[in-house]
């Protein structure tokens, strides 16, 4: 049953070393510690920051002592798992449950990897009657550059938030480019009052200076700022300043062309549109406790339009996007509904894999449990 090469490989000292129980147990124990400390760190510093620190390959404790990060531990455990299944786990029916469990675990880890690297989470906030054509990121920012032709905007560039000093961005076909001087992930901005009316930067909102701030606990609350040198036809022109909380874009004229720049939450265009017709919030009678939130929407795709309802625990799935009723706000112009929007190619993997792990465990334990019942009945 068990092929010769497998038996041989299983006995090989290298296999034995790689699959040493202590490695697995240490890995699991480290995972335990990572989860505990990650949770504590999260309570203190917010989820985004906790993920950044704990999901890497190395965690520097007190900035000097390296400790394996979640990525390292999970890679080691995954490789061990694959190796164990290929070479060691006996090919017998009795172990079928274990085969399924561990196969499911591999799939679960793969699913986690896909989600971590490929899933995109964004949001869409609409006022009643408003139609949305794109969603916005929670905490990723971009510099959008566009030129206006009548009512339409031609977006020339979208720069993501890996803006390091010295980085140059060209705006072809416009004869302009930007060289980053400073980028603060979270900043406070001050008007020219502080500099006595001196405006060192070209800016749309009379901002004269900016100071970096400690990142917020909730990453979406960060307000980044950018200072860059504008080059026209290759020659440095002026220094510009863009800040997250500015309402109006910065307008620059180059020759007879007008160019607009704005630092905004990254936009993800949809190839369909969502129109919010009505947002309804229901309370438990006589209390302020919410019983349900629901949004009546129209899904507009080309000429087709469909009236749909999105409510708590009942999202809309369309073209790989999922829209969830996430929150709401009541403002001067009426009720606004916010949807969390997710695309995740690995969405189904956790379902399949956890079903496997569950089924496998059940199979394995039931076999053993029946044995226990039989044994105790005999005695």
């Amino acid at each position: 049953m068990n092929p010769k090469w497998r038996q041989k490989a299983a006995r090989h000292p290298l296999t034995k070393a790689a699959l040493h129980p202590l490695i697995t147990l240490t890995g699991l124990f480290m995972l335990l510690l990572l989860v505990i400390f990650g949770t504590l760190y999260q309570a203190e510093n917010g989820l985004y920051e906790a993920q950044r620190v704990f999901f890497g390959y190395v965690i520097w404790v007190a900035k000097v002592i390296p400790f394996p990060g979640t990525a390292t531990v999970l890679w080691v455990l995954t490789l061990q798992l694959v190796l164990m299944m290929t070479l060691v786990l006996p090919l017998v029916w009795r172990k079928l449950g274990l085969w399924i469990v561990h196969g499911g675990l591999v799939l679960l880890l793969v699913g986690g990897f896909i989600t971590q690297t490929m899933a995109v989470e964004s949001q869409l906030t609409l006022a009643e009657g408003e139609t949305g054509h794109f969603t916005t990121a929670y905490h990723e920012w971009e510099v959008a550059v566009w030129t206006a032709h009548g009512d339409t905007n031609d977006v020339v560039a979208q720069i993501d938030d890996h803006l390091r000093p010295g980085k140059t961005v060209k705006f072809d076909p416009l004869p302009a480019s930007l060289t980053v001087k400073a980028y603060y992930p979270n900043a406070a901005a001050f008007t020219s009052m502080a500099t006595g009316g001196v405006m060192p930067f070209l800016n749309a909102s009379r901002i004269a200076s900016m100071e970096p701030r400690k990142p917020e606990k909730e990453a979406p609350q960060n307000a980044p700022g950018l200072i860059a040198t504008l080059h026209v036809n290759g020659a440095p022109d002026r220094d510009i300043l863009l800040y997250a909380l500015e309402r109006n874009p910065l307008a620059i004229s180059i020759g007879d062309q007008r160019m607009f720049l704005q630092l905004r939450r990254r936009n993800y265009p949809l190839d369909f549109a969502i129109k919010l017709n009505d947002f309804i919030r229901t309370l438990h009678p006589g209390t302020e406790v919410a019983k349900s939130f629901e949004s009546n929407i129209d899904l507009l795709d080309g000429a087709a339009s469909r009236a749909l309802k999105i409510w708590m625990n009942n999202p809309l799935r369309y073209k790989g996007y999922t829209f969830f009723q996430a929150s709401f706000s009541i403002e001067n112009d009426g009720e606004h509904s916010t949807f969390a929007v997710v695309t995740n190619p690995g969405r189904l993997l956790p379902y399949i894999s956890s079903l496997m792990v569950f089924g496998g465990m059940l199979l394995h334990f039931i076999l053993h449990f029946l044995g226990y019942v039989k044994r105790t009945a005999r005695s």
Binding site: P21, I36, G38, V289, A290, F293, N313, P315, R347, V357
Partner: protein, 678 residues
């Protein structure tokens, strides 16, 4: 008693009200109110305009009904409270528990106390209703701290103004930044306010000092019984007559006579009372055709349209009030029956969804508490069994545990039926459920192994978990409505139940492991018979860990699926999710360690004990972090308890370690000396 038939229904009534409101103030503005007001009118300071103080004397004595059996109709009245339609019996228990920390007043039932508060408010000044734990609050209020920390309303009244200031200050501080004194002041103020609020519930039917009739002539003219004070509702039944007299006033040339001026005064007092429609907690009247809209009598009386449609029900309430005050149990029951009949016709669907019979029975029997008591006795009995090894003691312990489990299950089932929800929806509910599951599994294991070990674990878990549950139950309403995101029976019954079963399994393996470790330490060199017994216990520890891994895993995954369905991410590193993951990892770690022989039986048992610690962190600890979606639990003071539990378990393992070493040396020297004895 049917004085309502004297005039033709509510259209007349509404008209008269209208007539009164126009005629009275305009025509007779010259009459001096103060001189006409009886001296007992409550004219004390106004506490934020929200409530008037407790009336001292209503001018007519109340005999009252004290026996629960006489108040059955009141007990099963439907009242909308905190978003749920519940029987008045439940409201009575909740409020009394909230005020005094106990659900009875020295043996007198909460229901009887509430009935007196509602129907005979003047008699409640000297009931020891309010618990103020912190003497500093009493001192700050300028009242004398009481030894047993229970205060009457009369004792608190002089300090009410200061209490309001204290409470307002506390209210302006963020909830998690309040100190103990502020918390207590705010709580006390809310309690007194809700008490005073309840005393006004049926004010329209209570004799009122403002409606005192002094002149026998007026009484004769209005065909009033001997008073001297009357209720708004009694006067309302004379509204046509009053209106007719008012019509005549001012038209005759003889000026305003004493009788007429008295009637004018009464009509003005009536008008004023009809305008104070401040809602009371006793929202017992459904608005016809509108599900979920319930009102207190005062609101209905103040609203002409609503009074028209609910006229009968208001009248029955007035009858109940009269019967209560007259001490007439038969009339009270009859009026209550008619009242409840009327309400269940108007709100047929809503009332149809309630299960008041079960709820009242559950309240009165309190199966959860009985189960706890039985588990304590069972625990004691099991200890006796281990001391004397008698078969009949073993059987009694079995019976007691079985009975306790039955009561516990009954309590859980009752909640499921009443709330129409799965068994676990709040932190409180996890305790009875975890207890029930782990004890059921323990009793199953006991039925296979018959060693008393699983039985002891069952009793241990029962006492510990249900004692904690009692603590949580004392914090207030344990059957509250759920916020939108949790309001999903499907996920509550799958994810929450499985994860809690996982807790239960790990808790059980931890409990058995304690006994296993103690036994193993005592007999480091077991005889073959002892070894068989130990092996049996080891198997239980191992099996329950497997069970725990399986259910924790499914629970965690189902939580992920719920999250994916609800907001698009399977895993969000929410602290509670992480807690569940910890249990899964720990169980996997233990099973693999055992499989590879890195730990032996004793090590596995020690691991199971630590598993209990992990469960406590996942179950309680993460609530202390105050982040994430699951931080729903009430947790102040819980941190210290949690840390002392963890410390206790570590200490336990150290003691076991020491004991093993000591017993090893002792039994070994014993073995050496044994051959030398003849």
């Amino acid at each position: 008693m049917n004085r309502f038939q004297t005039f033709s229904r509510s259209s007349v009534l509404a008209l008269c009200l209208l007539a009164l409101s126009f005629v009275a103030p305009r025509t007779f503005a010259g009459i001096d109110d103060e001189s006409a007001q009886p001296s007992s009118a409550p004219a004390k300071s106004d506490l934020g305009g929200e409530f008037t103080l407790l009336p001292e004397d209503l001018g007519r004595a109340s005999k009252g009904l004290e026996k629960d059996a006489d108040l059955d109709g009141f007990a099963s009245m439907a009242v909308l409270h905190d978003g749920r339609l519940k029987p008045v019996e439940t409201l009575a228990r909740l409020t009394l528990t909230q005020w005094s920390g106990r659900d009875n007043l020295k043996g007198r039932s909460a229901l009887s106390v509430l009935a007196q508060i509602v129907f005979a408010p003047e008699k409640n000044g000297d009931l020891k209703l309010f618990r103020i734990d912190n003497p500093e609050v009493a001192e700050a209020m300028g009242i004398k701290p009481q030894e047993k920390r229970l205060y009457t309303y009369r004792q608190i009244e002089p300090g009410l103004e200061r209490l309001q200031v204290l409470a307002a200050q506390a209210d302006s501080v963020a909830k998690n930044k309040r100190n103990l004194v502020q918390e207590e002041a705010l709580r006390t103020f809310t309690n007194v306010a809700s008490f005073l609020n309840l005393t006004r519930s049926v004010q329209f039917a209570l004799p009122s000092a403002a409606l005192m009739v002094v002149l026998p002539e007026t009484r004769r003219l209005l065909e009033l019984p001997t008073g001297p004070t009357y209720s708004f509702w009694e006067m309302m039944s004379r509204a046509p007559r009053i209106a007719a007299i008012l019509e005549g006033v001012g038209k005759s040339s003889g000026g305003v006579g004493p009788v007429e001026s008295e009637i004018v005064r009464i009509s003005r007092a009536m008008f004023l009372q009809s305008q104070t429609g401040a809602p009371s907690l006793l929202r017992v009247l459904p608005e016809p055709g509108k599900a979920g809209e319930w009102f207190s009598p005062a609101e209905v009386v103040a609203n002409g349209n609503m009074l028209q449609v609910l006229n009968h029900e208001i009248a029955f309430l007035a009858e109940m009030t009269d019967a209560y005050r007259a001490g007439n149990a038969t009339a009270f029951a009859a009026a209550a029956e008619r009242y409840n009949g009327g309400v269940s016709t108007i709100a047929a669907t809503e009332i149809g969804r309630t299960r008041f019979g079960i709820e009242i029975l559950k309240n009165r029997v309190n199966p959860l508490y009985q189960a706890m008591v039985l588990f304590y006795i069972a625990l004691f009995t099991t200890f006796l069994f281990f001391l004397f090894r008698k078969r009949w003691i073993y059987r009694s312990a079995w019976t007691l545990s079985g009975l306790a489990l039955f009561l516990l299950t009954a309590s859980i089932v009752a909640r499921i039926l009443i709330m129409r929800r799965p068994p676990v929806t709040s932190l409180f509910e996890t305790f009875p459920f975890v207890a029930a599951v782990s004890i059921a599994v323990a009793l199953f294991l006991e039925s296979r192994s018959r060693q008393g070990v699983a039985l002891l674990s069952a009793a241990l878990l029962g006492t510990v978990l249900l004692t904690i549950a009692q603590r949580y139950a004392a914090d207030g309403d344990t059957m509250q409505m759920l916020v939108a995101v949790l309001n999903s029976n499907f996920w509550l019954s799958t994810h929450v139940v499985t994860i809690t079963v996982g807790y239960a399994a790990c808790a059980l393996s931890g409990a058995i492991a304690h006994i296993r470790l103690a036994r193993g330490a005592w007999t480091p060199f077991p005889t073959p018979a002892q070894r068989t017994s130990l092996r049996e216990i080891d198997r239980m520890v191992f099996g329950t860990i497997c069970f725990g891994l399986l259910f924790s895993f499914i629970g965690t995954v189902l939580g992920g699926i719920w999250a994916d369905q609800s907001w698009g991410r399977f895993w969000g590193w929410d602290p509670k999710e992480n807690g569940a993951l910890l249990i899964v990892i720990w169980c996997a770690l233990l099973l693999h360690s055992k499989f590879w022989g890195v730990v032996r039986e004793t090590g596995l048992a020690a691991g199971a004990v630590l598993g209990g610690v992990i469960v406590s962190i996942a179950w309680q600890g993460v609530n202390l972090l105050n982040v994430g979606l699951h931080s729903y639990g009430f947790t102040s003071g819980a941190a210290i308890k949690l840390f002392s539990y963890i410390g206790g378990e570590v200490l336990f393992l150290l003691v076991i370690w020491g004991l093993t070493a000591w017993r090893k040396r002792k039994t070994r020297t014993g073995a050496h000396t044994a051959p030398s004895t003849p």
